[in-house]
Symmetry: C2
Subunit: 346 residues, 2 copies
């Protein structure tokens, strides 16, 4: 569980890890992407949120994600449903309900139309289930060997639930840290099919929409400080990002961390830390201490929050630090994963 | 110039032409994509517009496009600037000024960071020039050989200029058909570098934002019936789409069609019809007859409309038909291109 030293990176080329949601991703964003898009602001450009508030209208939020998961179909889901859930969830993390989606396809020449059709049927069903229309799209085809079957980019516009305005920068000392459900399933499920680990076939992705869970929290209003969906980089990345952007220390307790036994077994085998594995159907919530019990009750009233637990709190300590109280009572620092091990799981 | 018969297509696989904006694209959308996303509406789902009106707010419009152009840099532009202009222009075609953009990158492992940086610098500069902030994004990396360097999907939200509500379904008999500038440059420029046609190096892409040109038309209000940017599929596709969605016949005049000499020469050589070649910096406008002269004057007041011309009108005749009056006075039907010849030009 100790972070590996940074490998000697061939530093003038893009590495797989630059897309994995860990330290390399953060570095690419900070040193190359954001300076190019907003030059002048060489330092931090403010918190990097799941979704952005629309300029001139703080009731509307906007988010985008590309999906490149391989294989296209995996236990518990497929790239089409994932592309809807991922974007609906990033809207939800800013307290919003989805209003409209767009879908841009990059298709590799030679993909079976039946396979494309199956993905789109799943995408359409997921959108209807989430109650959001696909209002626009785009379809490009590239030559054989110039894409891997299908990439989907979904963008979502959402409207904030009145009273909710969570932000990665709003966690406060004393906050309770809540988790809506068990971690590690999505990444493990995808890797297990890719690595042909038949015996972990009981792990299925948790891909699901979370906007109803967030809507359920509306009565707590401004007491919902921060929400994040721990996708690439896992729970470790989400907690580090909130700790950084809110300038607080976060402590979580290994004894209460919900890691299902088959996930733990698969992680052992794959050499992964469940804290680093992507999820697509749970959220972490930072809420005022006095609202914690009520928040848990509200979450548990829905199936997607049935196993919600309190995993820690915001404590006094160096800002930006995440600490894990281990099973044996030790304390270790939870770093951002480097991000090399888990390419193309979402 | 006579449409080829449909080749015997291997009909269970995606073909390059399915992404080229012509007949195959329309067929894929109608038979597979749209039925999956909106089942039940087996027939037409309404006009397929450049950008969609946001549900519950007809002042806001939303559009998305994937950009997969190869090479990344071409005469007159690059994929970064193109990704901004293409999306700004689709918003403009619904009468909107851009409010916010999102940028999703799919990067191939091994791409030079300097090349990625150059594209993003160009993208950032194009966004600033258009006056629109990039508010959110996403960055994924796929293994070597699983993408071709870089694909960019941009999504835009725009606010409509008061009084403008153009639609592909609003062209009316008697309308004048105006074109804001010469056609054929973008696709020819990209193909000429790809095919190593050094001697057509004087053709540069027309990639540029058109929202100011559209804003200039605001005084005409509801007399601006339909706007479209003739990208993939070229002017032929745009006119066919408007003729179909407005159920009118469109006639244009070859004598006044502005095709620059180097573009015409390159098209000859490449076996292309300039009417089928993609543009990224001009628009076609259908305006009420009595507003035509004023619309031309307004367009010509800006550099991007300096060469605006009237190319035809909406006439009595079979709905959905586009007719070209040729140089020798004959009339020929302008079909949708099949769409096989021009892959990956945008
Ligand atoms: N995968 C898709 N899902 C949903 N709608 C789609 C999809 N692909 C295309 N569309 C819709 O079909 C219509 C035509 O799309 P198209 O991409 O040809 O338009 P455009 O963006 O104006 O042209 P270009 O992509 O050449 O710039 C649009 O209304 C678009 O929203
Ligand atoms: N290419 C980019 N351009 C602009 N902003 C970007 C880009 N890539 C990422 N960002 C921004 O960086 C932040 C982190 O992005 P990231 O994709 O990690 O978040 P996420 O979508 O919540 O996670 P995931 O993609 O794993 O679902 C977001 O605020 C996002 O808008
Ligand atoms: Mg997120
Ligand atoms: Mg996301
Ligand atoms: Mg498009
Ligand atoms: Mg368009
Ligand atoms: Mg477009
Ligand atoms: Mg993302």
């Amino acid at each position: 569980m100790i972070g590996c030293p940074l490998p000697h990176v061939e530093d003038d080329r893009v590495l797989l890890g630059h897309g994995a949601g860990g330290r390399l991703s953060a570095e690419l964003l900070d040193t190359l992407v954001l300076p190019a898009l907003t030059p002048g602001s060489t330092t931090a450009t403010g918190p990097l949120e799941d979704a952005a508030v629309l300029p001139g209208d703080d009731g509307l939020v906007l988010t985008t994600d590309g999906f490149v998961v391989s294989p296209l179909f995996f236990p518990g889901g497929d790239i089409g449903a994932l592309a809807v859930h991922g974007t609906v969830n990033d809207l939800a993390m800013r307290g919003a309900q989805p209003l409209a989606l767009t879908v841009a396809l990059v298709v590799e020449e030679g993909l079976r139309l039946s396979e494309l059709g199956a993905v789109l049927a799943s995408l359409g069903a997921a959108a209807r289930d989430a109650g959001v229309p696909v209002v626009a799209g785009d379809t490009k085809v590239v030559n054989r060997g110039q894409a891997d079957k299908l990439f989907i980019t979904t963008t979502g516009v959402g409207r904030r639930v009145a009273g909710l305005s969570p932000s990665a920068a709003h966690a406060r000392p004393g906050d309770a840290v809540l988790l809506s459900g068990p971690i590690g399933a999505h990444g493990t499920a995808v890797l297990s099919v890719r690595e042909n680990l038949g015996f972990v076939s009981d792990v299925v992705s948790d891909t699901r929409p979370l906007h109803r869970l967030v809507r359920e929290l509306a009565p707590l209003g401004a007491d919902v400080h921060a929400l994040r969906d721990p996708t690439r980089g896992g729970l470790a990345a989400s907690l580090n990002e909130i700790a950084r952007d809110s300038r607080v220390q976060v402590e979580i307790d290994e004894r209460v961390l919900p890691v299902p036994a088959p996930v733990a077994a698969a992680c052992d085998l794959l050499g992964l830390d469940p804290l680093h594995v992507a999820n697509e159907g749970c959220l972490v919530a930072f809420v005022g201490r006095d609202s914690a019990a009520r928040a848990l009750r509200l979450m548990r009233s829905l199936p997607e929050g049935a196993h919600a637990v309190r995993i820690g709190e915001v404590t006094e300590g160096p800002p930006g630090r995440v600490v894990l109280r281990t099973l044996v009572g030790a304390r270790r620092i939870v770093d951002l994963p480097l991000g090399e091990q888990l390419p193309r799981i979402c």
